[in-house]
Amino acid sequence: MNTANMRQLLRAAPSVFAARASLVALAKAFRMNYARLPICASYQHHMRSLSDNNRSKWHGLWEPSDLKTEPDIPEFDTIHISMKGFDYPVLESYAKYVHKAVDTMFDLESDAWPVPAKSTQIKTFHPNSAAVNDKYDLQKYERTVMVEDVPITTLPILLEFVRKNCPEGVEVFVKEPDPQEEEERYVPDYEVIELQKEKEAIAAGKLRKK
């Protein structure tokens, strides 16, 4: 039984080294079978140290008294900088600029992503009639830059930077994360929805047939 387990673990070798839990299992297996498999003493020691209950007897005995659990200057957990505009190249280059500045200049943890665009159709009419003069299809594009662990003294500077460098035609909003906006990021996969409906219809159909 043990050898079967071992074979399974060894077959999954590349993924084993990715997951610690499986490593621990491997260590346990090795500990039981080290006599059979040829591994050196240092590797045995390494495998032993990987197990969860391996703690030095001096662990936690002398804790430093000046340990800081919080930073000196309080920090905002997450800040979302969302940029919206109809002019795509301008918006895109500004979003890149802000992201790069936050990363390089302000030295803060950041991530940036696009939000699905909202399209609007505009029709202009001839005066005093319903005849369409012009038809426009506009897309309002959106980009969001997320900044993490912003010290409260840095935020005003970040706000000023974002506002001063804002190009024409771009609206910027700096706010804390909104779960509603998180929902709007996801575009519905119509194919999947249709297939699911089909599946439900078939299931219902089957029940009816019975």
Binding site: I152, T153, L155, P156, L159, E160, R163, K164, N165, E168
Partner: protein, 274 residues
């Protein structure tokens, strides 16, 4: 370390203020107000109200020429747009028709909207639209009290306040009182000195500080002036309260026309014009 008379006169003003408070409180036992004793130095909070630019900034000559060059390059390196392709096709079709017409008898032309017709229509549309002028009435009149002036650059509020018996052009400021935060002092300065101006103060911590250490011979207290930045929202100054005798909205370059050199030096630390 040559400081202007502003700070020494500030010191004298504080002593006068404290004596006035003393009389109001009717406590003859203490010579100095308890508010001032508690802190080693005199603290002030000033607020820098900034009206952000409304329109894009004007390009300098080099920027103009470079921007022209870039658009020229972009056009020369670009592909033809759908409209231009359509125009070319129509031209070719027209040529073919002419050649065919020479050979055969003339055919009836069907009414189509050509690309050129569309261009004419768009030109007419543009001509009918007049954008607002970049130069406002306030610009023409050189009215420095107006917020509508110089829409392409930031405007900052300067007031003429009486500090230690003398009038100075400064950012609106107020003395710190015991029990309030520096930010509250800044907001009080805004509401009491400026009147109807509505602004959003940025941050609880000041963005800059100006210190004055008097020489040891004069038994005066050191002064600390903390600056806060605020974004202008609406309203304008009214000098009804009497704390400010005059006010102006100026750009960064115009500061030197009003403030003392050393004060200007402190302002340059945190006012950036990008």
């Amino acid at each position: 370390m040559a400081y202007p008379p502003i700070f020494s006169s500030l010191m004298r003003c504080i002593q006068l203020c404290s004596r006035a408070k003393l009389l109001r409180a009717q406590s003859i036992s203490s010579l100095l107000s308890s508010n001032q004793i508690r802190h080693g130095s005199i603290l002030y909070s000033a607020v820098c109200v900034e009206r952000y630019p409304v329109i894009t900034s004007n390009k300098s000559t080099i920027e103009e020429r470079f921007s022209e060059l870039l658009s020229k390059l972009e056009q020369e390196n670009s592909f033809l747009s759908d409209h231009e392709v359509r125009h070319l096709k129509e031209e070719q079709a027209a040529k073919m028709k002419q050649e065919n017409a020479d050979e055969e008898s003339g055919n009836v032309d069907t009414e189509t909207v050509t690309a050129l017709d569309l261009e004419d229509k768009w030109d007419a549309e543009i001509k009918s639209f007049t954008p607002a002028s970049r130069v406002t009435q306030a610009d023409e009149q050189q009215n420095q009290k107006s917020v509508e002036r110089r829409l392409e650059s930031s405007l900052y509020l300067l007031v003429k306040q009486n500090i230690a018996g003398r009038e100075h052009w400064v950012l609106p400021q107020a003395t710190w009182e015991n029990g309030e935060t520096l930010r509250q002092t800044a907001e009080r300065a805004l509401s009491s000195v400026c009147g109807d101006v509505k602004a959003t103060v940025l941050g609880n911590a000041p963005c800059a500080v100006a210190k004055y250490e008097p020489p040891k011979e004069d038994e005066e207290k050191p002064i600390k002036l903390f600056f806060y930045k605020a974004w202008y929202r609406e309203g304008n100054v009214n000098t009804d309260s009497g704390l400010a005798s005059d006010y102006v909205w100026v750009t960064k370059e115009e500061f030197k026309d009003f403030c003392h050199n050393s004060y200007n030096g402190h302002l340059k630390k945190f006012i950036f014009d990008m």
